[in-house]
């Protein structure tokens, strides 16, 4: 009896699929590609992270050793630390600056907003590799524009890319340069969604512009700000081409590994030293850490309603 019922159910499922074959057909390319290019590699990566393997020889099962080494040795911990420092160096200031710029460009009293928006957004469409090389030239100790400019104020030439702290600051400024416009445009869209009546009502109640910024703009912009900060978090820990080009001789590591981001470390481990197993463990550990960090940020920033 039960068997029969199951058969009926099976048949009906089959029938259901046949009946709806068109939408299934339409969505199937995604799921096929998903299985090949995402699901399989993600699972295989997990598997590899328990092995020692140089990509060609035999795989050696090492259990959790790759993960243990990751947290016992300096580089991965330092790459996470670098991520945190770089994050603090640019994300708060860039997000704030983006918000200020968005508010200015949202104001009715200014002209040429479109022109300013174009200029500020322009860096986002340019290839990072190309710009990172121009940054190298701009920051050159002897022939760079940055030191020439500072020289007018009597500053001695600075070797921007040679010491750990300055190296991270240069990296942060390159990232800010590239992403400021993007963040601004997103925040601007958020601002344009806030009904003007709210501000008018606040003005009638005697609120100053600063007050209405903190009471109206900030709370209503919270989801947008959260989006920007989440994106910046993941972006910071995944920085690759910016440090890679700026510090090309060390393949992105920078002085004293100051700009070694987790993904730079992953690239070096996997594709310069061919430790495929430990590289997979880096990828997974980073994945989990970023996932937790995002949850944490959502909780912190999303709760205070």
């Amino acid at each position: 009896m039960a068997k029969q019922g199951q058969e009926i159910k099976k048949e009906s499922l089959f029938k259901k699929i046949r009946k709806n074959k068109i939408p299934y057909l339409f969505i199937s390319p995604f799921f096929i590609l998903f299985a090949i290019f995402l699901l399989y590699p993600t699972a295989y990566s997990f598997y590899l992270s328990f092995f020692k393997w140089n990509g060609t020889g035999p795989k050696l099962y090492v259990g959790l050793l790759n993960y243990i080494n990751l947290f016992a040795n300096r580089p991965f911990k330092q790459s996470l630390m670098n991520g945190v420092i770089i994050f603090l160096e640019y994300v708060p200031s860039m997000t704030l600056l983006a918000l200020i710029l968005a508010s200015l460009l949202n104001s009715k009293y200014l002209k040429l907003q479109g022109v300013f928006r174009t200029f500020i957004f322009l860096p986002y469409v340019t290839a990072t590799v190309a710009v990172a090389f121009s940054f190298q030239l701009l920051l050159d100790k002897k022939y760079g524009l940055a030191n020439l400019f500072l020289g007018f104020f009597g500053t001695e030439p600075i070797g921007w890319l040679n010491t750990p702290n300055l190296a991270r600051i240069c990296l942060s400024s390159l990232v800010t340069w590239r992403w400021l416009g993007y963040n601004m445009v997103i925040l601007l869209a958020g601002l344009q969604n806030i009904p003007l009546e709210l501000y008018e009502a606040a003005k009638i109640d005697g609120a100053t512009p600063t007050q209405s910024f903190f009471r109206i703009t900030l709370p209503l912009m919270k989801p947008m700000l959260l989006f920007c900060i989440l994106l910046s978090t993941v972006g910071t820990f995944s920085l690759f081409e910016e440090p890679y080009i700026l510090f090309l001789p060390s393949r992105g590591a920078g002085p004293m590994d100051a700009t070694l981001t987790p993904v730079v470390y992953l690239y070096q481990t996997g594709f310069r030293y061919l430790h495929f197993g430990s590289a997979s463990s880096i990828a997974y550990a980073l994945f989990i850490i970023l996932f937790l960090a995002s949850l944490f940020e959502i909780k912190i920033l999303g709760e205070k309603k």
Partner: protein
Amino acid sequence: MRRMRMLVLTVVIASLLVVASMGSAFAQETTVTVWAWQFPADCAQASMERFNALYPDINVEWEIMGPGDVYDNLLLALSAGEGAPDAVCLESSHLAQYVALGGLLDITDRALPYYDKMETAKWVEARDEQGRIYAMPLDSGPVAIWYRRDIFGNAGFPSDPESVAELLDTWDDFYEVAKLVKERSGVYMFADPGSSDGRLFEMLLWQQEAGYVDRKGKVVIDSPKAVRTLEWLGKFHKEDLVQDTSPWTAGWYAGIDEGGVATIIEAVWMGGFLWSWITPGSAGNWGVVPLPVWEKDGVRSSNDGGSTYAITNQCPEEKIEAAWKFLEFFTADRQALVAGWRLLDNFPSLMECWTDPLVEEEVAFFGEQKYRKVFTEAAKKIPWWNYTKDYSEMNSIAQVYLTAYNLGDETDAQEALTQAAAEIRARTGRE
């Protein structure tokens, strides 16, 4: 009779066919692709005409890129099993990594006749654990001191090689002279970046038969000799006695060209760079002296770099012979090697070159000094050294701790090197 005629005819036709096919085989040109950087390619160019005359059916196609890019690209291409060239130029420093990966062609039988003819140390990296050979030594990197005669003169020192060699007898003397040169003429003794690339440190270690690992492969970068060397180097950084520029950058070239540094502690191949493009304008002002020693009766020689040619295992069967001809000609043909030596100071690992009349030539760029003799002498007594397959990883780890010490983030040299050693052990699985 008729049968006989048939037979003759058959033989004739058959031999015609064979000749024809042989002819077409001969006419067929084999193209050998080679990855290299500019320097070895330029040296080879000097003898390309002779090579083409000798092997008219071999066509060499160079793909020029930076040495670091050769390594990165080759590693991925070998690991991918696709995209590698037929032959490749590799510095000894990185060779062992590719031998260990199994990406190079075993050329033991072909290379063996040359085994005794080459500088012995060059074979260490070219062989695997079973002793099979995977590369032919091209050039060696004996180290000496290149110095500016005019700067030494201006600082009130004698400037002829004999006196300078006496002046720079020990590394402590070198340090004292550095202080005086800086004081008297405002010129730095040499250039070394605070964010270290590790190369100078390595050279100084190899002079003392110390290094990252000992003969058994054990990590010894925290040895007393290494600590002494790092402390010595650190003094220059802390007392502002060294020009803080990274090698191979615009500021570094300018420092050399404009007389901003008095000496360069570097291998023989530096010479070619100096006169060919870094500073052709300062001709006549240069001299060369052997390395100072660390203690009495120390060795006045070390090694930096030096390259080899290898065939990759992606070279198709029918091209291996041509690729080998390329390797053999450019690593073991005396005339070709001497030409490269003359052209750009590509110092042959082939020892029979060391007696060439070229060694005795006086060179105007070096104030008529027989400077090649200094390097030839140095080459004969390079202490034992070994890069190993983990060199690039060990070097990148050392960079971190050397920089920390130079910049003052880590004040104790022993501590810096102990940490470096610990990380090298953990990451390479060595003892």
